[in-house]
């Protein structure tokens, strides 16, 4: 075979596309980790059987519909329900019981992708009898995934894995009681999404829009360079009430960032509590 295994997109082309997209659509990918971005761009180029970089570039720049696909494909949308069960166990046993004393609980799921975490969160809140006084703001850069999230339908084939995750996270109910099977999809109960608000939000360019007691942003910061990570952590800090909780992905941290001194980690899990010394 004479097929080359070289990546179809080179480093300069990555920069060209980043510049184009910023100029034409206002989407700023300059702070994204290049290795991952290059891989996603090469993947999209191959998936869509592009024949030349010039055509690929032209299509991204001139076809709004294709640009929508571009954003969907170059951002990573892999997620699952009750991902990292121990994390949900910590939420269930330590974080949410603390927040239960509040009259109203505002939660921000930043980078919610197709919504699996939002529904997991709603299930835990419901089981703790907190859902009625909670509001889950689920945001993502990518409007297409939010449309899917709002449907609340996930592949039935995933339910065995999700049910195992749910049980490992301390769930006691029958997981299948939360959805009804609809051909190849599991449709989750509509009352779970009554307290969800889906909205686009770009962590790079959009500002704080509310004050929260809990912010979850898991496996998003790994795609950002250090400067952008710090900027986004600052945004979270501005959006979190004192004594609120910030949850990151298993390989992400507030360490090294300027906000870290205000945050105290709950041992084991990647959950930090904001502790501002009021006397200062």
């Amino acid at each position: 075979m004479l097929v080359s295994n070289l990546p179809p997109i080179n480093d300069e082309q990555v920069e060209t596309l980043i510049d184009d997209v910023l100029e034409q659509y206002g989407y700023d990918f300059t702070g994204y980790s290049r290795a991952s971005l290059k891989r996603r761009l090469s993947r999209l180029y191959s998936l869509d059987k592009q024949v030349s970089f010039a055509e690929f570039r032209y299509k991204i720049g001139s076809d709004n519909l294709y640009f929508k696909r571009f954003v969907e494909q170059i951002t990573v949308n892999v997620t699952e329900m009750f991902r990292d069960p121990n994390f949900y166990k910590a939420l269930r046993e330590r974080v949410l019981p603390t927040l239960a004393t509040y009259p109203f609980i505002r939660i921000w799921l930043a980078g919610c992708s197709t919504g699996e975490e939002a529904y997991s969160m709603a299930i835990v809140l419901k089981e703790l009898n907190l859902l009625h006084k909670s509001l889950i703001y689920a945001t993502d850069i990518n409007p297409t995934v939010l449309e899917k999230a709002a449907l609340g339908m996930f592949p039935l084939s995933q339910m065995k894995q999700y049910s195992e995750n749910y049980i490992a996270s301390g769930g006691k109910a029958d997981f299948s009681s939360y959805y009804s099977a609809n051909y190849s999809l599991a449709k989750f109960d509509v009352d779970l999404k009554e307290k969800m608000i889906f909205s686009t939000h770009n962590l790079v360019s959009d500002h704080s829009f509310n004050e929260f007691q809990l912010i979850l942003c898991r496996n998003v910061l790994i795609y950002f360079d250090r400067d952008l990570q710090f900027k986004v952590l600052q945004l979270f800090d501005n959006s979190l009430e004192n004594l609120g909780f910030l949850a990151l992905g298993t390989k992400e941290t507030t360490d090294f960032s300027p906000i870290s001194k205000r945050y105290k980690r709950l041992e084991m899990e990647k959950i930090w509590r904001k502790t501002v010394n009021e006397k200062l």
């Binding site: 990546p7 980790s33 290795a35 891989r39």
Partner: protein, 187 residues
């Protein structure tokens, strides 16, 4: 290989035993980092790092995102993430789709290493039951890097090294006993 700047070792079923045999004989003055990508269940990271660190005096640690990649250090790719290399010789982690049913995928890490280290890269593929890593080796060769595979006759599961030999112009086919010597001479 002249001036090896990174050695990446990939393996699946049957390759942990190989590492346990090889690590104790690797010299402590190697001038490059060793990055190990092993297929395994998620959530077993500290166990693997702990186990391997009992086999060598070199520093063994899990690769962290944005970390500077240092010589004389053995980095283990965390379970359930792909590991990529940035041009400034730091790591990136990536939680995108599995490749060859695997995350971490050996192909992903080999390919990314090839782009960054080019002809200063050596990749070694060990025992395993799928072909993850083989496409990556092809790219390593295209960028001028060196490619070695475990002798399939010595592998617990020979499919992975066999596929590599079949599809890639490999530079070395190594018995387990030859590996440490090969690695030490990359200096």
């Amino acid at each position: 290989m002249k001036n090896c700047e990174a050695l990446v070792i990939g393996g699946s079923a049957g390759s942990l035993d190989v590492l346990i045999k090889v690590l104790p004989s690797i010299n402590l003055d190697i001038k490059f980092p060793i990055i190990i990508v092993l297929h395994r269940k998620k959530g077993t990271d500290s166990l693997l790092s702990d186990l391997l660190s009992t086999k060598t005096k070199l520093k063994v640690k899990e690769a962290e995102e944005k970390e500077n990649i240092l010589a004389k250090t053995i980095y283990i790719v965390p379970s359930d993430y792909h590991l990529l290399f940035e041009k400034d010789f730091t790591f990136s982690l990536d939680y995108s789709e599995k490749v060859n049913y695997s995350r971490p995928s050996i192909d992903v890490t080999f390919q990314s290493a090839a782009e960054v280290y080019k002809d200063k890269l050596v990749c070694l593929l060990l025992s395993g039951s799928n072909a993850d890593g083989v496409n990556g080796l092809t790219m390593v060769k295209e960028f001028g890097g060196e490619v070695a595979v475990q002798n399939p006759k010595t592998a617990q599961v020979d499919y992975m090294p066999n596929q590599a030999i079949l599809r890639v112009n490999v530079d070395e086919i190594l018995d387990i006993e030859q590996m440490a010597d090969y690695i030490n001479k990359l200096n």
